[in-house]
């Protein structure tokens, strides 16, 4: 019960309209203690121009954003990642055109310092659907609908990439996430998950196919997360309100956390596409001890039907926001996990602070 009470605490909500569509957003936490930054991938529908903007947030008045730096992207941005090392703030963005861009920013004021791009035709054919930066920010995995899995090594002045796998379009990937310096996971159509180990080339080391037999409902994984302390558990969110965890140690039985599945008695906060999932590290220190290693840590998800909620295994989901339009992405501030950032379909962002 204590956990529920914590969650019900007050919530500060700031809505900020952007005159542009937000394709993706992330927190950027620099060394500075006074300022925080939000990285927004924007698309201006009137001029058809895409850009990445770094906006500074005032800690005392979060609704007061001011533009810190901006970078024009050659195409619409499909995924945005930020390295979590404050000394080396690095923004990675993939585009629908198949190019990958790395922006190096100043650790204090988040101004743009340099940019490296990878836009070769042989890299990806068509849109890149998922990327993830490794913890140290030295490697980036990228996957696409073309069925390619690439690893990009980020040097100081140049990028190198190598192909890990190419299914020649027979399999499309939609999401990617690092588990350890050598292992990463990908997700795709049909609620499929793949676990890869760089040390074992030639293909995925484990595969999972979600099979909840629900007729003609789409089944696509949109987002994967892996908690750094439990790299054997893959968390995935996708179509029809589905959020599930796949434990590599018990491969046959995924844990369904949310979703409409005949015969399952899981309460689902949403019935439509779950666009993003992340482990919710807020208030965890107090309760983490109570969660056995077999149990799934609290999960936050956002959905097409406008729900932002926290799901805890075996408990009623806790709704944080219910919007009249889709919540397309969100991010939890890793340094300050009470703070959230969401992007709404209706050209606005929401800054939330849980207290």
């Amino acid at each position: 019960m204590a956990m529920v009470a914590e969650g019900v605490g007050t919530l500060q909500i700031h809505r900020i309209s952007q005159p542009k569509y937000i394709d993706a957003l992330r927190w950027l936490s620099p060394l500075s203690a006074f300022e925080r930054f939000a990285v927004l991938a924007l698309h201006d529908s009137d001029s058809d121009v895409s850009s990445i903007e770094i906006q500074a947030l005032n800690r005392s008045n979060p609704s007061n954003l001011h533009l810190q730096s901006s970078w024009a992207s050659p195409a619409r941005i499909s995924t945005l990642r930020v390295s979590q090392i404050p000394q080396k703030p690095l923004v990675a963005a993939s585009t629908y055109m198949g190019s990958l861009h790395f922006l190096f920013t100043d650790p204090v004021d988040a101004s743009l310092e340099s940019e490296l791009s990878l836009a070769e035709k042989s890299f990806h054919a068509g849109p890149i659907s998922g990327i993830d930066l490794q913890g140290t920010g030295s490697e980036c995995v990228s996957v696409g609908e073309d069925g390619r899995v690439n690893l990009v090594t980020i040097g100081d002045s140049k990028l190198n990439y190598r192909r890990v796998f190419d299914s020649h379009g027979l399999v499309s990937y939609t999401a990617a996430k690092w588990a350890s310096p050598a292992e990463f996971a990908t997700g795709g159509l049909g609620f499929s998950l793949q676990y890869w180990d760089q040390r074992k080339p030639g293909g995925a080391v484990s595969q999972f196919k979600g099979n909840w037999g629900r007729g003609n409902m789409s089944e696509i994984v949109h987002s994967i997360d892996i908690h750094p302390s439990r790299k054997h558990i893959l968390l995935a969110g996708g179509s029809s309100g589905t959020v599930f965890a796949w434990d590599l140690r018990w491969q046959k039985q995924p844990v369904l956390l949310s979703g409409i599945v005949p015969g399952e008695t899981v309460v689902s906060p949403s019935e439509s596409e779950v666009w993003e999932v992340q482990f919710d590290c807020y208030m965890q220190s107090a309760t983490i001890g109570n969660i056995s290693s077999g149990q799934i840590l609290p999960v936050m998800m956002c959905s097409e039907d406008g729900i932002l909620a926290v799901i805890k295994q075996g408990e009623q989901p806790m709704e944080i926001l219910a919007e009249p339009c889709a919540i397309n992405s969100f991010d939890i501030d890793k340094q300050n996990p009470s703070d959230l950032l969401c992007s709404l379909e209706w050209e606005s962002i929401v800054i939330l602070s849980r207290q």
Binding site: Y21, S45, Y96, H168, S172, G188, G190, K209, S218, E347
Partner: protein, 734 residues
Amino acid sequence: MPGRMSDPSDSLVPFSPDVRDPVVYSLHHDLKAPISRLSISWSKGNCLRVSFFGKKSSNSSAEGSGNSNDQIGGKVVEVKLSSEDGEIDEAQKRRIAYGSVSPFALLQSRKNSMSLLSKMSMGSSTYHVEWWEHVMEYSKDINLLLGSPKPLPSPVIEDPKTVLKAMEKPTCLKAAWELMEIFYADKQSQAWLPESLVDWLADYDNLLSETGTTVYSKLVDLQKELVTLQAVEDNPKYWEGISSALAVGWLEIVVKLLRLHGSYQLDQLGNRETENGLVEAVAVLISKMPRIRTELAVGRLGECYKTKPDFVKAWEKWRGQITKLECSAFWVQCDHRQTREGLKNVLQIMLGNTNSLNTVTSHWIELYISHFLYVRPFTMGLESMYSLAQKCMQLKPTSSTHRLMGLLLGILGENTEVVLAECSRSFGPWMVAHAVELLTAGSKQAEILLHEERYNLGGISIEELHRLVYAQILSSHALTWQIAPIYLTSCTKQGMGLLEILLYKQPIQHNHLLLKSLEICRLYELDSISSNIMKIAGIHHWKHGKKGSGIFWLQQAQDEVRLNRIAQQLFDFVGKSISDESFKQWEGLIELLGSEARTVGGLEFLHKYRDFKKSLQQVQDGHITDAARQAVESLILLMKNPSTPQRFWLPLLHDSRTGPGIEAEKRGSLVKLLNWSEHPLLNISQTNLLLNKLQELSMAKLHPDFIEADLPPHALNSVRLALATNLGRAFLEE
């Protein structure tokens, strides 16, 4: 649009037959003349896409030589047609569109449940009382979207001489909405319409300043001078400002201005005592002006009276006090001429002297409002309000009618069509689609007019027409199309048809957008459309080499016909190119197909083939007997299955022996299976089945349509030989 092209004379759609001056855009296409062809089409939003095709060069060998400009065969230019309304930019318009979705949807759902209730023969009187409250709530929600007057950042120390607060300029759209709200939605203000208009003008008089002088613009000028003036009362503009502000009922400003009068200054108080007494007496009288209204906001002056008798009593008394002051002997003792005259004029305004009112007001609506305040506070009913407006307009004619005034006259004239036309002409489709709710709530007559199905509109009502028009505008933009369904589904006649068209038009290349369309299908239970969209997506992905995605979407759509077609193509692919290395790539696809008995069409074959391959692989890896047995099982299943195409039989039987790889003997082969050292793996009936299939195949070879497998010529014989040997061994075994 639905409906036939109608004669403009009997058209209900606001449509002006007289064409305005055409707008000429000049486009630069950098093409050499002559242009052979020109194509014009709509792009997204208000963009027009113009494609120019140059004349095909007769000298085709010129390629590669000459400058590159010569080779441009055509050019596409996008022309952005700007909307007429400059006061609200596109992003702000979208914000209003987004924000109005929830209030609109809420009102519609309430309307639906209300009509359900009334069908169940509930008391209709309670229905009406509650209904206008819902409409009012809707109106307030929409009004909020149109912006709230924000004070501009003001200096920390307020200048005592600031009479006009600097405000952000409101929009005409908001002013128009509030007019509609006052007259149609707010049933409580019906008894106090004149006072509501007084408040309305106080908020929006500055909008009228665009076209001419107004009280507001006079006060702005005065404000600028006030800062520099020493003795304000010597300046006639000061008195003009006071009189004008008083005429339109801005009592706070008047009192504030009066108290800037020089006689209030401490060093002058001694010798201007009488003068100051007069100024103060007028200020007090003004601040005690009786108003026939329920309440006044904090800081507003005047005394409210809710009922007419109370008001009349107070009004007579107040006027009595004014007359008394006017006849007072103190005026003679007042030496300051400007003050004396100015104050006397103020009193004349308060007594409702029409000449004075006429001189101090500028715009006809200001004169109109001053009549409500000081001449005819009991004006009731739209008819008398309308005739008063006519009179005021005659007294103060304007060269052009401001769009707000056009709307107001339409409302006062009680002509729903005119109101609708004014809304549409001046404020656009958003306004009409949303204001119709207020109009229908306004009167039964308007409701009938707007809900009546009309032949000349193709059988739809005016309400539906305007919703459809607005939905079309939403549909034309990539960011707003998702809210169009809310409006379309509220249109009973044509809405669903247009929604289907809208959904089919959406791009399907990216899963994100595709899923957003499918979500709308799910919400409105449009299963057949959703499966059609998935089919389109499936074919798109398949064509673009994303075989996995293609199959996935076709499976979702349960499109057996196409899946079977695809299966045929896949077989060719499998037969030709699957080496053991490339089979790894197929794994994922086969995984996707799933093992469940879902529609997979002929693709089921691939699944079994994979099992067979896997077992063979294991035989080679050394997991001998069990794997070999499994391989045989799979093979028999494959051969028995009707979905396995005939042309695959021989490659299957022969498969691994001389497959695409070269090191045949390394692999487990059928021949190896057949020659299994320990005991025969195939029993008699299984062997017979395979032999029969071979026989069938030999017969089929004679058929002209037969497709020869890409195998060495002796393949058939070597398989037959192996089978025959096995048959012999099996006989011995049994």
